[in-house]
């Protein structure tokens, strides 16, 4: 068998799949919190750890998280980057994102950082470097989605 082949010799296919994901009790409570401009963390009284994103069980003690606590609306950047080559359906690049540990919580949660001048990437990265402080800012009309809030730098 012998036939010349080239990269444009293809069969094209496109797959569209749709899903409706049940949010459940834990994520549902968190998303309800967003609607009232609160960030709710689940807490385990045995380990004393407060989790964001929230969990049904403490994954250290394997006991149920038995209370909800309001996370502080300020926190510390633990890891950050400026996404320069973005992708479809997200905010237009260049856009800073970070994992932030909100005050009173034992894990970090990801979101965008607003209002950072990204014209000089080096300077922008210094501004959002790990250790910097941010505060949570909610959109005017929260809809119960993680994009209801983002971070802004604390001066």
């Amino acid at each position: 068998m012998s036939r010349a082949t080239n990269p444009t010799d293809v069969i094209r296919s496109e797959v569209t799949l749709r899903y409706d994901y049940s949010v459940g009790e834990v994520a549902g409570t968190f998303l309800d919190g967003l609607r009232s401009k609160k960030i709710l963390a689940s807490k385990c009284s045995m380990s004393g750890l407060a989790y964001l994103p929230p969990r049904a069980y403490c994954e250290r003690t394997f006991e149920k998280c038995d209370s909800w606590v309001e996370a502080g609306l300020e926190g510390t950047i633990e890891a950050s980057t400026i996404v320069v080559r973005g992708f479809e359906g997200k905010r237009q690049p260049p856009v800073p994102i970070a994992f932030v540990r909100l005050d009173g919580v034992d894990s970090a949660i990801a979101n965008y950082i607003d209002d950072v001048d990204c014209s000089d990437l080096e300077a922008a990265m210094q501004a959002i470097a790990p250790g910097r402080r941010v505060r949570v800012e909610f959109v005017g009309e929260p809809e119960g989605r993680i994009t209801d809030f983002s971070f802004v730098l604390v001066d």
């Binding site: 890891a79 980057t81 856009v95 949660i109 990801a110 979101n111 470097a129 993680i146």
Partner: protein, 401 residues
């Protein structure tokens, strides 16, 4: 009494963006035929097949292991699919090793193929590995998650982008002597620095290519080695570990695992070294094939595996410590994952490149006097990590003696 396990034969195709001459399954078949020929074996000599297959969304064919059954001579044999993301190939080797070691099968073939470049949407597929309620609305991907890791690691150790660029320069140079490598060439730190920014501080050249290709490794017990291979690479140690799904749980003073430092590696490395009886890796291991899809990721693993102190791997690179010629340990003679990343089989390729060094069949990248070679694989957002050690002599692990 556990069986001794050794590598009988290996095969890998060239890694390129496209292989328009064959389909996915025909590509897998090339590896099956290649490994069988290399071992002077027939399909009937293989008792079971482990199929190394990562997310099938990359090619849009659900569970393509099924599609491949006939092509890889799987019909009539037990067949197992293994999937731990980027760690898949290493996990597949561990599965085959365990099946032979337990005495369940005499000879097992590990095989897989990857065609990631047949979709332009690979980063979109990788976005779906993040949590759909809390993370997926952000531009999180493998690229951006390693950029996040880099921000913390580089700040902590005072490492610069130029420091990281050395890995790319060294490995593309090594890859010039490895016919199967995808990216190769003589480049400079300046070239890496001048490549387009993707997610700060990672630039295009800090990031692996999207590679297509196939690979296979056949392993067997002592009886099989007596029949088919006079100079095997013995599988002397494996170690693997799984860490938390949540990236944010690894970025806290109360964390069990340190995301910036990939401290998950401590556990897989220790388990593997204990089994292979390795006490001083720099003295006892001559070749390391790391799963390093980003310039940062090889350095971090060298540090965690005990080849050098924390924060020092990039600095030692500038002293030639990891060079293929004249280094203390040859790190990624193949060019590593920075030069070729066929995701489903990258961990398998690392194992093949390590085993070939022990068997003396590594061709242009052969290092002299290799007694032990180590391979790693990393999956998900560093949720899976595995380590494998191949040796020229069989080392009975502690559980056997």
């Amino acid at each position: 009494m556990a069986e001794t396990v050794g590598v009988i034969s290996t095969y890998q195709t060239d890694y390129r963006s496209q292989h328009p001459d064959v389909t996915f399954v025909e590509q897998a078949q090339q590896a099956a035929v290649g490994a069988l020929h290399a071992g002077n074996m027939r399909p009937d000599d293989v008792d079971a097949v482990v199929f190394s297959l990562a997310p099938t969304n990359f090619m849009g064919v659900a569970d393509a292991d099924r599609w491949a059954i006939d092509y890889i001579f799987g019909a009539g044999k037990p067949m197992f699919r293994v999937h731990t993301g980027g760690a898949t190939g290493g996990s597949a080797v561990h599965a085959a090793y365990s099946l032979v070691r337990a005495g369940t099968f005499r000879i097992v073939m590990v095989i897989g193929a990857e065609r990631i470049a047949e979709t332009p949407d690979a980063q979109a597929v990788l976005n779906t590995i993040f949590d759909l309620f809390y993370e997926r609305d952000m531009p999180l991907s493998t690229n951006t998650s390693v950029a996040l890791q880099a921000s913390a690691y580089m700040q902590r150790h005072g490492i610069t982008q130029e420091d990281l660029a050395q890995a790319v320069v060294r490995q593309r140079w090594n890859a010039l002597r490895h016919p199967q490598a995808h990216l190769k060439g003589e480049i400079t730190v300046g070239d890496v620095m001048a490549s387009p920014m993707i997610s700060y501080p990672l630039k295009l050249y800090d990031i692996c290519p999207r590679s297509s290709g196939s690979a296979a490794m056949i392993v067997g017990n002592v009886e099989a080695l007596d029949s088919f291979q006079s100079r095997p690479a013995f599988l002397n140690g494996i170690g693997s570990v799984t860490g938390t799904y949540w990236v944010g749980d690894r970025l806290s003073p109360t964390a069990d695992i340190d995301y910036a430092e990939m401290s998950l590696t401590d556990f897989s490395g220790a388990a593997c070294f204990r089994r292979a009886d390795i006490k001083d890796p720099v003295k006892e291991i001559q070749v390391v094939e790391l799963y390093d899809p980003y310039s940062l990721v090889g350095y971090v693993q060298l540090e965690r595996l005990g080849f050098c102190p924390r924060g020092k791997a990039a600095r030692l690179d500038s002293e030639g410590f990891w060079d293929l010629d004249g280094g203390q340990v040859a790190v990624n003679p193949s060019g590593g994952t920075l030069c070729s990343n066929p995701i489903a089989i990258t961990g398998l390729a690392r194992c093949i490149d390590a085993a070939n060094q022990v068997m003396g069949t590594a061709g242009g990248i052969q290092v002299h006097g290799v007694r032990n070679a180590l391979a790693t694989a990393v999956g998900g957002i560093s949720q899976f990590h595995n380590v494998t050690i191949f040796g020229e002599d069989h080392v009975p692990d502690r559980e056997e003696v």
